[in-house]
Symmetry: C2
Subunit: 147 residues, 2 copies
């Protein structure tokens, strides 16, 4: 069976993975651009926000909650620690790492928040809040189906 160019074209244009990766790439660039004055990447900002919000969760559980690989989150945290924005200490259960957002981390986060808001507004404006909320639901459904 030899696929013709039309079929390939169709495949490239409908591939769920490619579409999502493409959107994620381009939107990430916009957020990173907006956050540039803050010295944070959007990924770092997200992780910082997550720990600022949930307090102290083990890396594995937090990773599961964020839909990230455990080792990815671990390495992201190490970066944040090297910048002095979080601290990593062993917990009572000495298998776990206790993650704490430092004062400097909290300040960095709050300084970055308006820049985040600016990018968020810009990107979302393409759809409006309601449609965006619906799309978000759909994205979650896709992610669930992927498992």
């Amino acid at each position: 069976m030899v696929l013709d160019k039309q079929q390939c074209l169709l495949m490239a244009h409908t591939c769920a993975c490619f579409s999502l990766r493409r959107a994620a790439r381009l939107v990430s660039q916009a957020f990173d651009q907006a956050l540039k004055p803050t010295g944070l990447r959007i990924t770092q900002f997200s992780v910082l926000a997550a720990y600022h919000m949930t307090g102290d969760l083990g890396i594995g559980k937090m990773a599961k909650g964020l839909g990230m690989d455990r080792t990815t989150l671990s390495r992201n945290l190490k970066l944040l620690a090297s910048k002095g924005l979080v601290t990593l200490e062993p917990a009572e259960d000495r298998r776990e790492q206790r993650v704490k957002v430092t004062k400097r981390g909290a300040r960095a986060f709050e300084k970055a928040a308006p820049y985040w808001q600016q990018a968020q507004t810009k990107v979302i404006s393409a759809l409006g809040p309601d449609k965006w909320a619906a799309v978000q639901q759909d994205l979650r459904a896709l992610a669930r189906a992927a498992k």
Copy 2:
């Protein structure tokens, strides 16, 4: 101004970039899983499909068409070349690279296509084809707005 946990929670849950990256991560894992027997990652499969479909485009133009960074595509292609799936030769305009899918590349692509289809069907099943098409439109709109 100190943000409280509620605001952080809201931020993490509505962040366009985080939502997209999360979906892209999880869906990519599903596609990579499905493509495992073929030895191709979904990114490599996409690039292979793109060149199989459009024939020979300069790296920069192809990258623009795919919404990828030029250097990212360049390195992806180098990987494919090392696997013998494409060849890279200088074009008449000696600034450009002529990219050709080898016979082996075409075979690998066609062998992988059914595995891709399987993952695609699985992921899309969460929404159904029509809703998926609408979401795709929205993703494109978001990507456009990001510029």
